[in-house]
């Protein structure tokens, strides 16, 4: 598998056609997800398959199609051979240094796994990865939600002034029919159920709001691409509140922790699980909406 990973990666970097590189990358992402299963990290494998391979693949594929669709190809540019050689030297050195760093990692490896398991009862959760994300290092997760909001603001801020407040225009194909349309009609009910299930089950089993939200987002995007649903205008008040629901509830529960528990982002033991679920439900919605809007791109139509 290692060989296959490397071969596809080399192909994705060296192949001349951008389109081929992007398709190779999507395949590569699925292979990486398998590697994560091998590494006994099913939670990460789900996220990798959903986001690392799935959404990123769609995003890059869409961009490649847009850039290719025009009759004016990007000006052919050559990188100077000197730069190429020195970049190769630096990159090889980085890879070699990293390889050595991995090789010389100490035995036995230090780990926080016992500590994570020892404290898990007070979180009411059974999945230690979820406990890290929602309790021990909840601050990282909260900040990462803000990163997503900020990315949405950043993408929207790129709108041409005439289109401000309008709808993202890249995905919507009102005339699309055939296979895509069929799938877009059939898949979403299943997708929604799977997405919610992944969020719900994450308390005790692999899953989580991210893979769950990604699948919801994927269903929405599919519907947009098939022309069954249009992207909402960015001026929509309900859209904005959907984006905010997760981060706002998360922050509010965080501050609540200062009043009813020991600290910011702490949960009282008796209510830990209900509070975490109370955060995850709006978070699932927000993640789905934010990922969907990030894929839909810059507002272009009023």
């Amino acid at each position: 598998m290692v060989v296959l990973l490397l071969v596809i990666a080399v192909f994705a970097i060296t192949v001349r056609s951008t389109f081929a590189a992007v398709i190779a990358f999507a395949a590569y992402g699925l292979l990486v997800a398998v590697a994560w299963v091998r590494l006994q990290a099913v939670d990460v494998a789900l996220t990798e398959a959903a986001i690392g391979s799935g959404l990123t693949g769609v995003l890059l594929l869409g961009a490649a199609a847009r850039l290719r669709a025009t009759d004016q190809p990007p000006r052919p540019e050559r990188t100077a051979p000197g730069l190429r050689a020195s970049a190769a030297g630096v990159s090889a050195a980085v890879a070699a240094a990293l390889g050595a760093a991995v090789w010389f990692l100490p035995e036995p490896a230090p780990t926080l796994a016992p500590a994570a398991v020892a404290s898990i009862d007070s979180t009411g959760l059974g999945n230690p990865v979820t406990a890290v994300l929602m309790a021990y290092r909840a601050a990282d997760t909260l900040l990462e939600k803000i990163v997503l909001v900020l990315a949405v603001v950043g993408v929207w801020s790129l709108a041409p002034d005439r289109a401000w407040g309008g709808r993202p225009g890249t995905l919507y194909r009102p005339d699309a029919d055939g296979v895509l349309s069929f799938f877009a009609r059939v898949l979403p009910p299943f997708g929604v159920v799977i997405g919610i299930y992944l969020m719900w089950t994450a308390a005790d089993h692999p899953g989580g709001a991210f893979p769950g939200g990604t699948i919801l987002a994927a269903m929405w995007v599919l519907a947009m691409m098939a022309g069954l649903a249009d992207a909402p205008p960015v001026s929509s008040v309900s859209l904005r509140w959907l984006v905010l629901a997760g981060p706002v509830v998360f922050s509010a529960v965080g501050f609540l922790g200062m009043a009813i528990a020991d600290a910011f982002l702490a949960y009282p033991v008796a209510f830990a699980k209900p509070l975490i679920v109370a955060i995850e439900i709006p978070m699932l919605l927000s993640i789905a909406v934010m990922l969907g809007m990030l894929l839909a791109g810059v507002p272009q139509r009023r």
Binding site: A9, F25, L39, Q40, L67, A109, A116, L295
Partner: protein, 111 residues
């Protein structure tokens, strides 16, 4: 050599490959793709170190696994922003080159 170490060396190679692509590809979309390759090498490194820390009946250290999930999301947000910028730039100019326009500035320091 254990399979985990092998995967560790593989992720080192992937990171190096991604870095090379980021520096040398003139096309921004290829740079973005290479960044994702670089990122996946780095994340696999997280997974390798997490796997080495398997203990307490867990297959890996949940802390590093959780950090990877956060990292993957951040990397996706970065990719989305970069692609949006690129497409907007393309719409505005009809090209997708990062080479400075001729009259850009007196920057002669570019080797």
């Amino acid at each position: 050599m254990t399979p985990v170490t092998l995967l560790g060396l593989c992720s080192a190679a992937l990171a190096g490959l991604g870095l090379y692509g980021m520096v040398t590809h003139p096309h921004p979309l290829r740079k973005i793709l290479a960044f994702n390759l670089f990122g996946s090498g780095v994340f696999l490194l997280f997974g390798v170190v997490a796997r080495r820390g398997a203990a307490a009946d867990l297959g890996g250290d949940p802390v590093l696994q959780a950090l990877t999930i956060t990292g993957l999301v951040v990397a996706f947000a970065a990719t989305a922003l970069a692609v949006a910028l690129l497409l907007r730039f393309f719409d505005a100019t009809g090209t997708a080159t990062l080479a400075p326009a001729a009259d850009h500035d007196a920057d002669s320091g570019n080797p």
